[in-house]
Symmetry: D2
Subunit: 184 residues, 4 copies
């Protein structure tokens, strides 16, 4: 959870994209709310809860109001969650929104975007408002009603408006993969 | 669905209240979003979906932002859904938010508030914005993400603001009690 | 839980039947396994879990192998769970299997069958084998896999066979109505 | 679906085992009912329905009555569902019952056991009775009540008994991976 809006839009470090004809730059998405769902294809909480919720999020809002992006942030079992494995996963689970592979860091098991954004594990959900400021950085499960409320409020909020305090949600501190999430 | 905000806050016609020390007047709730969940205690769609969702709605927003009210709008089986039966139902299902009995109309099986508001059956959900205008009048099932989005936007919307067009949601025309709802 | 098969088939004390052209006598059902689901129409655990499971049980086995019977065992809120209320409930929830009203006892809030069989609350499930012996007397929730296993074993068991020890299942001791059950 | 019990216990062709100190031979399991759950780690219907059901099956019956075995029958995306990927999957999903890798066939994408047994896709469930005869060969989803009933009947059935006709269940013919299953 970022305690205050960042001064600039965070940057995605992506080594490969799926489901998009060209790379996505967050800077180019000003004027839309953006949801970035960070997951690992072998994270049970991502497969059972996070990704189906990202699909429902995609369906609940118009594309000109909300952009949904998946980010494959592999921090364990790297050898078996490579690009080819991810491609099969995306195909079998019929995921249709753009998905980027978080760029590997040769000095750390944690990939670059995950480290730069301070993501605590998978699934994580990051929401940017229309100006590109981080309004939510949530690790673990979040229920549909609460998520809908936050996105609904961000979508409604007039551009260049208020903001100030990001939504504070209950967070989780469990380490490792539980039924709901995998912690860094 | 009301196609435009009503000029005045609609009025509740309630013959008896539960879970509140004094009657609730919608006029007195200006400044808060209000959700009125219309149900019947023997409507399967209300028991299975509508009332549990009303409980989740109550838990998802602070009380000073959102007021949740139940409205027992009996339009069938009147003899067995009277005040004593409702009291047992509220007790057994442990419902804690205020619930009013829609006032019977001696000339019609449809009670007064239900008729005046044009409710099409149970469950129905009516949302008022901070100025008391109807922003949603929905019959049947609505999913948590969509409902969260609407309430989140209303809560966020500055008082005396914009509004204009109420949210248009898919509606249903089935007649009688289906798995999800009972139609008038 | 009866620790040993009763020497004779227990008797139903029923004051009124629904969904059957004539009263049902358990003695007449020798050769079939019989499932008696004891419920109250205002018991949340019955409405949410017990009755839907009874419907699935009815659908999972042929009628000539398994008879499913509902028993309305009212031990609280008697005034609002009378025959007319039950009739509306059966209609709205579209229950199609035979349902009997457990006969009221003028000296006790607990009805006659419930007392005679030692039922501990609602929902309860009683299973009789093809010879009419009680093989299960379970209070509270039971999962589909376990219930299917018991009924599958009873249906398969050759008539006049083995038996001996009824299935021992985890039981519950909570008093009053919880999310799952109402205890006497 | 095998229309009659096979004359001999079918053979598992397994190239590697997990969660067992030594290879499992079906011949050595006479006297127990055996459930073999055939899955692929990237098959959505297996992850969402089949494997959680196999876990429930394992928990519902004593180990001396029922043996549950997983069989990784990869017939697509072979490169990304190898032994190392499966090991990570088993670890992350915390699967505890023995799991074997169906032996690859150098002449076909379909592995040897899958071909020999005529499995139609994943998830598939094969049940052997205490004598080792196939009593169920089911492709796709099966509900808990029905599965419990079949296993309960098999477990109860006296050794060297009756049998004759295996249970006929509704089957599915969809090709490719649907929400529930992947067809060969």
């Amino acid at each position: 959870m970022n305690r205050a809006p960042l001064p600039v839009t965070p940057t995605l470090h992506v080594s490969r994209w799926y489901n998009t004809p060209k790379p996505i730059a967050l800077d180019a998405l000003r004027g839309r709310v953006v949801a970035i769902h960070a997951f690992q294809m072998l994270c049970p909480g991502c497969v059972t809860h996070g990704l189906p919720q990202a699909v429902r999020l995609r369906e609940a809002f118009p594309e000109d109001q909300l952009t949904v992006i998946g980010l494959h942030t592999v921090f364990e079992h790297h050898a078996v969650m490579g690009p080819e494995a991810l491609e099969a996963f995306i195909h079998e689970y019929r995921l249709a929104f753009p998905i980027g592979v978080d760029e590997a860091d040769s000095h750390s098991p944690v990939p670059k975007t995950m480290a730069a954004w301070g993501l605590r594990g998978t699934p994580s959900l990051v929401l940017l408002d229309q100006e590109g400021h981080v309004q939510l950085n949530h690790f673990g499960r979040i229920d549909d009603m609460a998520l809908g409320a936050i996105v609904g409020a961000l979508v409604e909020r007039p551009f260049k408006a208020l903001a100030a305090e990001p939504h504070a949600l209950e967070e989780r501190d469990e380490v490792g993969c539980g039924g709901d999430a995998c912690a860094v």
